[in-house]
Each structure stands twice: as structure tokens, then as C-alpha cells.
Symmetry: C2
Subunit: 388 residues, 2 copies
């Protein structure tokens, strides 16, 4: 991986140390170039006129995403972010009272809120699977938890607040054996970890553009297994997904377009397209090797810093490094780093309630690395944390 070239493509990474890639990554220059080019053309010939002229380029984004996650292009719907994708997916399932959703203890707030929304609206049950010493998701406990009421297994691949990696492929083997619907939220893993629906065996995969894919804010996507489309009906439906037949009746189209809005932010879609192409060109396995290397380098070095606790657990870990420093308030540490031109973020308890309560944390500092981050940056960050 040619890190110098990659850093040249990332216009301002020399000026700041960006360890907030799990918030929103720094894009490559090609992302904004694509967006700005599209906006400028819209201004020149008109928004609808440009859309009509750009049908080939618009189709390409579906192909690029399909290449990234190993599915068909007609299994991808563009959405405005991962939460929208997630909600469109779960509210399209015909839950009945007494049905159960099985999930992890590492769920993102927006996801869990919508399990609870379904509980309130439809009377479903929610079961969370704890971790064990080796894994954030205990597969034996999971298999024991499955019963006839289990309608959906929905897990966050990598949580927002730590380096944990949920074993989505092993879970997929079990859901397949039990013929249960399976949703994987890859909001934090997409563009970072080799995440292939053919290996996972999931029915839904939700993703965003702005994080490890290095795309723009305001666009994400949803994968839906084409073999289950006929069983699903999105809670709200548009002309992309149904034909309005009369004042009494519509005809559901039964294609992936049921999950996509009629109107789309095409300029941002072009930015996402550039981002996915860049990831595909680098190769997701190469990206993962590099992210894993830099994140583990940071963890190893932080272990030697006095007062630092790391909350990522054991086993395979992501590009997200979660810490506190003894006696240093998380906001104080974040501001201290910012003064040294180091971007990081804070994970508040409410975004990952079940996990943070188990860890007895109200907040933690999150340092999220990407392949363009360097050993020199890591050394500077470690030194800056050490000195406060």
C-alpha cells in the first residue's frame, strides 16, 4: 500500500492528525471533486436534465457497492445514512406480537431504539446476547437463545464505542441453520474490514458513506437478499416501490427499489461512488491489514502510558481504540488533543448503553484510525496523551 500516494490524495492530512475516522473520515480529493463536478453541471443544465444524462454513472455506484460486498447490483438501495437503511429494513418485516429479535450487547443507540419502537408498536421481545472471555458475542449463548419465536437476528458488526468485532460469519452459519432473518449493521466496518454478504449469509446489511468508506455525509446504503424481497413490505412506500392502481389499491413492485426514495441527493451519490471505487481499487483486504496494523500499534503503545485503560477487549479488534486516562476527564483529554491538532471523539454512554453500563463508563475517548494514518502520527498522539 502506497501510503505516500494515499496521503497525497488526502488533501489536508499533513495539517492535522485525524483519529476520528469512525465519526467521519477525511475523504480523498476525488470525493469532493466528484460532488463539485456534479453540482456544477446541475447548475449548468438543470438537476433533472443532468440526472437523465447521467444514468450510466448513476448505475455504476450500485455495481461498485456490489463489488465491495459481493452481491448483485439489484440488491442495493441507496439511502441517506445507515440508520435510515436500518429502519427501512426492520420495519419491512411482518413482525407479530411475541416474535423475538436477538441482538448483541454492543448495539448502537439508534438501532436499539427501533427494536424498542417495534416492541411498543407490535409487542415483540428483545433478547441480548452477552460476550465471554474470548468474544463480544457468545455463540453458545446465542444458539441456546434461539427458539420458535426468533424472527430476526440483528447485530452491529463493530460497535461505535470500542474495537470489538462481532463474529458475523459464525452467527450467519447459525441463523442459516435455523432459517432466521439476519441483519448486519456495518456502519463502522464498511470500507475497513472485508465484509462479504456471500460469506456472512445475511439478509440485510446496512452501511454509511462518511465513515471508513471515506465518502460524504448524507448518503449510505442497504443490501437486501433478493430471495426474500417478496416477503417484505417497507413501512412507507414510494413510486419507486409500488404502482398506484386506484384510490383503493397499490401494487407492490417487489424489487430492491422499494427501499429507495424517489428523490436522491445525486451529487453526494457521486461522491460515494468515488469513495467506493477508491476502496475497491486499494482492495479491502489490503485496507484491513493496514488498519489492523496501525490500530494495534496504537494499542500496544498506549498500554505503556501511565493511567491509560483500553476498553477494546480481546481477539480480533477493529480500527477503533477506546480509552480513558486516569484522573483526566474525557472532554479535557479530547480538548488537549485538539490543541495539538489531533482529532478524536468521545463515546457517550447513551450511544451504546448496554455495553457502556457493563463497563461502568459514562464516557470514553475514541481514537479511530484509518489506513492513511502513520506510525509517526501514532507516536505523536501517544506522547501527547502521556504528557497531559
Amino acid at each position: 500500500m502506497d501510503i505516500d500516494k494515499i496521503r497525497t490524495d488526502t488533501l489536508h492530512c499533513q495539517d492535522i492528525i485525524h483519529f476520528n475516522n469512525a465519526g467521519a473520515s477525511l475523504p480523498t480529493k476525488f470525493v469532493n471533486e466528484a460532488i463539485i463536478h456534479y453540482l456544477t453541471q446541475e447548475e449548468t443544465i438543470g438537476g433533472y436534465e443532468l440526472e437523465a444524462a447521467k444514468q450510466t454513472e448513476i448505475a455504476e455506484i450500485y455495481d461498485e457497492i456490489a463489488k465491495l460486498i459481493h452481491c448483485d447490483s439489484n440488491e442495493i438501495a441507496l439511502t441517506d445514512n445507515a440508520t435510515t437503511a436500518f429502519n427501512r429494513a426492520i420495519f419491512s418485516i411482518d413482525f407479530k406480537a411475541g416474535d423475538t429479535i436477538i441482538t448483541s450487547e454492543l448495539e448502537y443507540g439508534n438501532n436499539f431504539l427501533n427494536y424498542l419502537r417495534l416492541k411498543k408498536e407490535k409487542g415483540i421481545n428483545i433478547k441480548t446476547i452477552p460476550g465471554n472471555n474470548d468474544s463480544p458475542f457468545d455463540l453458545e449463548e446465542f444458539e441456546k437463545a434461539i427458539d420458535d419465536s426468533t424472527k430476526l437476528v440483528a447485530v452491529t458488526h463493530m460497535p461505535t464505542n470500542s474495537g470489538a468485532v462481532v463474529p458475523i460469519e459464525a452467527i450467519g452459519q447459525i441463523t442459516k441453520a435455523h432459517d432466521i432473518l439476519y441483519l448486519v449493521d456495518t456502519c463502522q466496518s464498511i470500507g475497513h474490514y472485508p465484509t462479504f454478504v456471500d460469506k456472512i449469509g445475511c439478509d440485510f446489511l446496512t452501511a454509511t458513506g462518511r465513515k471508513y468508506l471515506r465518502g460524504p455525509r448524507g448518503v449510505g446504503f442497504l443490501y437486501v437478499n433478493k430471495n426474500i424481497l417478496n416477503k417484505l413490505e417497507p413501512f412507507s412506500i414510494e413510486m419507486t416501490g409500488a404502482e398506484w392502481k386506484s384510490i383503493d389499491h397499490y401494487q407492490k413492485l417487489g424489487t430492491i427499489k422499494m427501499f429507495e426514495g424517489w428523490e436522491k441527493p445525486y451529487s453526494l451519490v457521486m461522491g460515494l461512488s468515488a469513495a467506493v471505487k477508491y476502496a475497491n481499487n486499494l482492495g479491502i483486504e489490503n485496507i484491513w491489514k493496514r488498519v489492523s496494523f496501525v490500530a494495534n500499534d496504537l494499542r500496544t503503545k498506549l498500554q505503556n502510558v501511565n493511567g491509560v485503560t483500553i476498553y477494546d477487549g480481546k481477539g480480533e479488534l477493529s480500527g477503533i481504540v477506546s480509552i480513558t486516562k486516569n484522573g483526566v476527564d474525557t472532554t479535557k483529554l479530547q480538548n488537549h488533543l485538539r490543541k495539538h491538532k489531533i482529532n478524536t471523539s468521545i463515546s457517550p454512554q447513551f450511544t451504546s448503553l448496554t455495553d457502556m453500563q457493563k463497563k461502568n463508563l459514562m464516557t470514553s475517548n475514541r481514537l479511530s484510525l484509518h489506513y492513511y494514518n502513520t506510525t509517526e502520527e501514532i507516536d505523536k498522539v501517544v506522547e501527547t496523551i502521556d504528557r497531559i
Copy 2:
């Protein structure tokens, strides 16, 4: 209104005649400047870091919209488009089986599909109110249709496919007298017609940015009357609208933020902000006078063209002019105009089924004018239509 100055602000309006403002208008140069400035800053310091630094500018968009439609800033939620706003609104109402939605015959496809979705999911009834010789919405028929089952009156202010204007203020007086929830879809009227929630008396107003507001694609908004927020619960909920208390329970926050996603396309929001400011600076009454003048000028001149039929009805008419030309297929006419650098669009039946069926039209040609269009452009378009 200084049309020369306005046309200077609209970079390419000299090169094309854009009569597709009801599709997506040509933006002023300030819109793309605002978006590009924001994207460039995101690239420089990071997306989350910029969002934190721009809280004042982000708050301003709510104030600008509140100024435009005469409401409080904390009654506005940003959405990705008008349909999203519409769906968030109607699916937050606690419909029971047997409740009735009263609507018009001029509804937009996406809206009507979601009335039908509610019918299927919850067993509600739908009543459509016909027009009469003077109006596209008969107020006497409307008042007769109201009964104890009437839960919501939902109307499109200006349809996508004709110049008709639904009397939303008169409807509002009746809904208020009967204490019925009232939703107005201003997708085609916002930025074009003085549309003030204090005069309409509506509980919900839905809008998009890309049409008569001249903003970017991919952003819109929803107004919700703050006095009814405690009665509503959005179908899907995010951390903006609820507090995740435990694995069994969330606490709805009861603010307008329930209707807004946690993640937003901030660059496009900045573009929308520039667009709304521009409209507010021109003054919406001035805009309406000018749009009304140019659209009526076009209608008057088209009446003298052999073979042209106009489908806008009588009374007050919008900037949308809907026609067919005898013996000329709508696609042929659109392509002919495009060859002369004139942008127009086609209204297919399925986008306005009830209205188009009554008119016995499968398609019609739509010419939608804005204040920056000129008499010279109108004359050229009329001549070009005459000559085919």
C-alpha cells in the same frame, strides 16, 4: 424585482431556457458556493469537527425557514426531501381502524401511496374531495365529508402536474372548527407562493429544497405545530428524539427533533440555507407576483397557439403550466423543445393518478416558470411550440 441582477446570480440562465422549476430549479450561485465552501472545510478539518464549529450557522437555517413560513424555529425538522417529511408526519399519528383521511383529487403519487399503506396496515379509510367549476377542491363537499371518523385532512397545495391551487387557508378554517389534524404538502408551492402556517392553521407542512426554493437536491423540511408534539410518536425514532433508558424502555423526548435524523447532509443544509435566505431577501410576496405574471403571460400566449390545450383550470393558478399539443406526442414535444435549449418535463399519469384519469390524460407537458424567467424566453418557447 431586479431581474437582471437575479439572472446574474443564476450562472447559466443565459445559455438555456429553464421551464422545469417544478422539477428542480436552477439554483443561484450562492447555493453551490455554500455547499462547496462547506465540503472544502470538511476536507480540511474533518466532518464532525466542522459540524461542532458551525453550530451557529446550522441553527440559522431553522430561523430562516421559520421566517419564510411564519412559525417558531423549534417547529422545523430537516429531512432529505418532502416525501420523507410527509411520511414522518403521517406515520407519527395514532391512527386506529376506521379513522378517515380526507384528501384532494390532486394528490402526488408518493403521498397517496402512503395513505394506501396506512389503509393496509391500520385499516383507515380514504375520502377524496372533487373540484368544482371554480376550485380544484370543493369546500362544501369537504365540509359534508367530515364526520366523527375524520382524523386527518391532508392536501397537496399545488399538484405536480398542473397550475391548480388548493384553497389551503379556507380548508384550514374548517379543520380548525372541527378540531381535525391538518397536513399541507407544499412541495411545489414553497418558495413560490406566500405560505404561512399562522394563516393556514395547519399542524404539519412538508417541503423540499430543490424546486421553487432553488436549493440543492437531497434536502427538505417538515413543520410540526409545537402544540401537538406530545400527541405524536414517529414510527422510527433516533437518539435525536428519544432517550434510551434500558433494554426495555425509551423515553420519547417530545420535541421537533423526534422528526429529524441524527445524521444530516450538512453541506446540502448549507445550500438550502443560502436558498431560503435568498427567497426571504427577495420577499415571498414579490416572488409570487412575478411568478404569477410570467406563468399567466405564458398561458395567455399559448391560448393563441393552434392545437394547444391547457389543463390548469380556472381561478388562481401557480407557476406550473400543463399542456398538450394536438397531434404531437408529449415526448416528441419535450425533445423538440430540448433541441432548442428549452428544459421542460412530462407529467406521467401515475404521479397524479386521480387527476390525470379525470382529465383522461396518460401524459402531459409541464412548463414550470420561476421569477427569473423572462418575457423574451416565453415568446421563444411559444414560438417553438407553435412551429412543431
